[in-house]
């Protein structure tokens, strides 16, 4: 019954129960590829939750204000805005289609009434402004109430238009388009703590942008070898430090992570710190190289730690120690003997993400069979939970799941061979301040909250 402690929980209460709150998305067995969620991200306050899908759409949910008449029900997330962020494009030079799938969404900190977010596909990053309109001007001089232009000769008197309330309308408009800067496929974007710049990373290069300038970017990391035949590693993820605007990390397909300081040189090909855990020779196997590839890297909110996710484990690193991680958590070690089959069905290439809780006391990542795992760093306990329609009664507690590896299967356990590898949870997000989590299971978005005792 181990839950995960986190920010916002009452002092002394470390027994959290995760409960189902909501699920968004169609129930159909036949899932359209375009509806598959490809990224999930809370904004800085946690009031907004954005999802991107393979069809290039962005859906933003907003948390309702807590209802005083029902104090025990937390605010629900309802659709706030939906828009088409990216469309499929065609690169004529290479005869390639550019997918509209949204790879990442990152919110900007709120500075005025409007909200801003960056969304990216494989090649182009866009800055979207999401603004509310709840007033409308009425009483124009030159046009009628229904918009038709009035004949100027008929206007005999002038009046000042008056603002009248209207139904809330949320508009999304693209304010900047950052294009043509990446030869390879963009895998990460990260907003800097200076709130003016951001980075975008593809397989071999990382570029630094200014949010106001779209026709120029600075290349800060270039891993392309002079001779592509000597290519041995690619960049898999990158992120800015949450507080130090000159520091960022990038992870590689070889299982290494480099921390770079932009003050040291303009081109950060040489790292300031190099995080690598020496490989355990006893666990070396045929697929060792590809399962050591890091699929996600995230700084803790404190900025003191970072977390890397490879295929079978998630590791927490102290930024002051490069030689080995301070914590290693096995996500689904029972898959280690199944790597060959996972290679055959392409699951071994799945890129799982990971996230920190608001207080950094817990971490979460996804697995197969719609399972996701949470690790409490203080109590050292971990739990496996499932996102499924069966457990979707309002405020129903989630029961911990267990995968059995041996021959003897207990009643509630599921055997490794029964796992559904088509149901994978790659994207999860944790509310920055409270115990609310969003879990993307194919085309459905599950929202879980802790039970108020």
């Amino acid at each position: 019954m181990a839950g995960a402690g986190g920010g916002g929980c009452p002092a002394g209460a470390n027994d959290l129960q995760w409960c189902f709150s909501q699920v968004k998305g169609a129930i159909d067995e036949d899932v359209a590829e375009a509806d598959i969620i490809s990224t999930v991200e809370f904004n800085y306050s946690g009031d907004l939750l954005a999802t991107g899908d393979k069809g290039g759409r962005v859906v933003i949910f907003q948390r309702e204000q807590e209802n005083k008449s029902r104090p025990h029900s937390r605010g629900e997330y309802n659709v706030y805005s939906t828009f088409q962020s990216h469309e499929p494009e065609f690169d004529y030079l290479k005869s390639l289609e550019i997918e509209e799938k949204i790879n990442k969404i990152r919110w900007l900190p709120q500075q005025n009434a409007a909200q801003f977010l960056l969304s990216t596909n494989d090649k182009t990053i866009k800055l979207w402004k999401i603004s509310e309109r709840d007033k409308r001007a009425e009483g124009y001089n030159l046009k009628d109430e229904d918009g038709r232009l009035r004949d100027p000769f008929r206007i005999t008197a002038l009046r000042v238009p008056i603002l009248k309330p209207m139904d809330l309308m949320v508009e999304a408009s693209p304010r900047r388009i950052f294009a043509n800067a990446h030869t390879y496929h963009i895998n990460s974007i990260s907003v800097n703590s200076d709130h003016e710049t951001y980075l975008s990373a593809d397989d071999l290069r990382i570029n630094l942008w200014h949010l106001e300038i779209t026709d120029r970017s600075f290349n800060i990391v270039d891993m392309k070898p002079a001779n592509m035949e000597e290519l041995t590693e690619v960049i898999t993820a990158a992120e800015f430090h949450p507080h130090q605007c000159n520091v960022f990390v990038h992870s590689s397909s070889k299982g290494t992570t480099r921390l770079c300081d932009m003050r040291s040189s303009a081109l950060c090909d040489t790292h300031s710190k190099f995080f690598e855990e020496p490989e355990d020779p006893s666990s070396r196997s045929f697929f060792s190289e590809i399962i050591s590839s890091i699929s996600d890297v995230k700084f803790s909110h404190s900025g003191r730690y970072m977390m890397t996710r490879d295929y079978l484990s998630v590791k927490v690193w102290d930024l002051n120690m490069e030689s080995r991680p301070v914590e290693t958590h096995q996500v689904h070690e029972y898959l280690r003997s199944k790597l060959c089959s996972l290679y055959e069905n392409d699951c071994i290439f799945d890129k799982f993400e990971c996230c920190w809780s608001g207080s950094d006391s817990a971490i979460m990542t996804g697995s197969y069979n719609n399972f996701f795992r949470m690790f409490d760093r203080n109590t050292r306990r971990d739990v496996t939970l499932e996102a499924s329609r069966e457990n979707s009664k309002p405020r129903a507690s989630l029961k911990p799941r267990k995968v059995c590896t041996g021959a003897k299967r207990k009643r509630d356990e599921i055997s490794v061979d029964s796992l559904d590898f088509s149901k994978k949870i790659l994207h999860t997000a944790w509310h920055p301040a409270g115990n609310v989590i969003a879990v993307a299971a194919t085309n459905n978005l599950y929202i879980f909250q802790d039970k108020v005792n």
Binding site: E99, Y184, L204, F286
Partner: protein, 224 residues
Amino acid sequence: MEVQKEAQRIMTLSVWKMYHSRMQRGGLRLHRSLQLSLVMRSARELYLSAKVEAHEQTEVPSLPARSPDPRLHPLREAQAAAEAASPDGEQPCSEPMDTQEAPRAEETPARCTPHPAKVSRKRRSSSLSDGGDAGLVPSKKARLEEEAEEGASSEVPDRLQPPPAQAEGAFPNLARVLQRRFSGLLNCSPAASPTVSPPACEGKPACRPADNMLNVLVRAVVAF
């Protein structure tokens, strides 16, 4: 033998995946191609070392010859355990991949180290970094075709045949070359083996055919 077959299977599968990934929307993905080529290389090394072993075992049935290379010393214990385990027929076909090939894979470089740098020097004139037409230059293509014909290509599995018919886009030649290379590999006749397995002591020249394959596959990566 099981190990060899498994290695072949993985190699074929990897090539198929590599080819298939070109057909995906969004084109060839660099990271995926790199991972596939890593697996292919490991499978190739395993296959070659298994083949060498098979040779040795037929020649010297009493003791498998292993040169005590000091570099491989840490692996010898694991290797001895693996060798002791290999006659054990209980292990399923797929499991050896995960546990036994590591020592062998490590050992193969000692015998015939592929020298990508050396090979690439010769191929620099056919650099594909401009990313445009990624067809092979005539001289290299001629050599590859010649080598492919050394191996009889009588038994081409059905699943490799459709791809050349669909070959299009940037690599019209790649698919044909891949098909020919693999028809040679998959053919179990001894005529095919000289093109693939190097005799133990003739390091580089005999390795080159397999190297070409890997280079050709890497070129799929290069074009992007």
